[in-house]
């Protein structure tokens, strides 16, 4: 690990001032950043510890929503009574990620900023990676790409975003509140927060240098059943091959409203407006779900090892909708 200096911020303004130093990075839970610093993929020369900032509360927001402090741990958020009762999709997604130990340490803000698990980014030093070393090429495109993106990828990068939480936030239409270096707060819609790789895959979010995530804002949930399903190589403690978060409301056998987001398929949590449009005002049948799945994957591209993900994503969406509608029927 490269040497670095360390300071602990006690208030948000102090944190953004401290982060103006060249080579400075915020650290909170550290579960991803320190892992990458040990591998010298990340090489900050100054760490600003934000983990004790007073950003740990869950408060009412707007007309029936929630404001979630960015320094809350993943497990505290998943255990919150209001989240479990009104946003079960978010609790389910958080609980499907990592392990009990990691969820206790990892922060909500840090979850949004976790880096891809592409092995060429993470481990394979001599192989090119445009994310690790811009301009060095993408080794995954013609390499081992079983876990890689099928939607929204580019010739420069086919990595996926590993977050489960972000998939739920996408289906719930969350906003991210950030404090800028000008000491002003702004909000970024979750779908604008993570970027597609394009030709700058090393720039992963809409954050400006030094901006600090202060909160996640949830609007009131839309009516309907919420369900998260994650498909992976192990039953637990593993990243998704494909995951799906849905909110679906059925009245008289017809779908009144639907939200669909995928994980494990793209450089960002993938909200599928195509699937949602295809579902609404249609009968809640498997045929409808299959058409929505086809619409969601119409532009999907496999790279060889990951071709199976296209069919897997379709089937995972269908199964999740079948289960969610059955739960809705029992309610």
């Amino acid at each position: 690990m490269k040497p670095f200096t360390y300071e602990r911020a006690t208030d948000t303004r102090g944190a953004i001032r401290a982060a103006r130093r060249s080579g400075a990075r915020y650290i909170s839970g550290g579960t991803n950043l320190l892992d990458l610093m040990k591998l010298e993929v990340e090489r900050p020369n100054h760490l600003v510890d934000i983990s004790r900032l007073p950003l740990r509360s869950i408060e009412p927001h707007g007309d029936g929503g929630l404001r979630i402090g960015s320094q809350l741990s993943n497990s505290e958020l998943a255990a919150d009574g209001q989240v479990r009762a009104r946003y079960p999709l978010l609790a389910q997604a958080l609980l499907s990620g990592a392990s009990g130990q990691l969820r206790n340490k990892a922060s909500v803000g840090g979850n949004l900023l976790q880096r891809t698990r592409c092995p060429y980014f993470y481990y394979d030093g001599p192989a090119g990676c445009n994310k690790r070393e811009p301009g060095s090429g993408c080794s995954a495109i013609d390499g081992f790409n079983r876990g890689h993106a099928i939607l929204g990828a580019s010739d420069a990068c086919i990595a996926t975003n590993p977050s489960d939480m972000a998939v739920a936030l996408s289906a719930l239409a969350a906003e991210i509140e950030v404090l800028g270096t000008d000491e002003r707060l702004r909000r970024i819609a979750i779908d604008d927060f993570h970027r597609l790789p394009g030709d700058t895959p090393h720039i992963e979010t809409a954050l400006e240098p030094g901006e600090l995530i202060t909160a996640v804002l949830l609007p009131p949930p839309i009516d309907g059943r919420q369900l998260y399903r994650k498909v992976r190589d192990r039953a637990s403690y593993e990243f998704a091959l494909v995951s799906v978060g849905v909110v679906v409301s059925v009245v008289g056998g017809r779908i009144r409203a639907a939200r669909v987001a995928f994980g494990g398929v793209a450089h960002k949590p993938w909200r599928s407006y195509e699937a949602e449009h295809s579902l609404v005002d249609r009968p809640a049948t498997l045929r409808t779900f299959q058409e929505a799945a086809d619409a969601a994957m119409a532009n999907a591209v496999g790279r060889g090892d990951n071709d199976f993900k296209i069919e897997l994503a379709k089937r995972t969406l269908c199964r999740t909708l079948v289960d969610a509608v059955a739960m809705e029927g029992r309610a």
Binding site: D49, S75, S99, G100, L102, K105, S236
Partner: protein, 170 residues
């Protein structure tokens, strides 16, 4: 940097390089070698300790980040003369072979049972909104998935934890 930690109830002062993980501070500086280094990347759980009562991976955090905080390691969980019920249950159920993962397994189980008592749901909990957790074997396996055992003593680890959870039930 100067770091003050409370380790197993005792105040300790350390002078550490900023890069020192909490795990290395425990093992190399305080010579508390019960906490094990397995992967050093948060994948195996051998370094699990209790930070302010919650289980974490000691390898993925910096000691300097925990100035003034409370750490409990396997040395503070029980001693050979006074075993913690989980330690006794691991022996009774033969919940290990080589034993390298065991301190992490036991610290993790201590933290996990507290999480269950607090009503925290897991990935296999049917209804996350329910405040009651029925600690089935499936729940134990899911909640302990952050602790790997390469000897594959899993069935006996689950049995040991099940025994202690059943005793603790009112």
């Amino acid at each position: 940097m100067q770091v003050a930690l409370t380790i197993n109830g005792q105040a300790r002062q350390l002078e550490l390089d900023t890069r020192t993980s909490l795990l290395d501070a425990l093992r190399e500086h305080l010579h508390l070698t019960g906490t094990k280094k397995g992967c050093d990347h948060g994948q195996c759980g051998a370094c699990t300790v209790l930070l302010n009562g919650r289980r974490i991976n000691a390898c993925l955090t910096l000691a300097v980040m925990h100035d003034g905080e409370d750490v409990r390691t396997i040395e503070g969980v029980g001693t050979p003369d006074e075993l913690h019920p989980l330690q006794a249950a691991f022996i009774a159920r033969d919940g290990f072979q080589c034993g390298y993962c065991t301190p992490g397994q036991i610290c993790s189980a201590v933290g996990m049972l507290d999480e269950v008592r607090a009503g925290w749901p897991s990935h296999v909990t049917g209804d996350v909104a329910s405040s009651h957790v029925e600690l089935t074997d499936e729940e134990i396996r899911e909640r302990m998935s952050g602790n790997l055992c390469r000897c594959c003593a899993y069935p006996n680890i689950v049995a040991a934890i099940r025994d202690v959870a059943a005793e603790a039930r009112p």
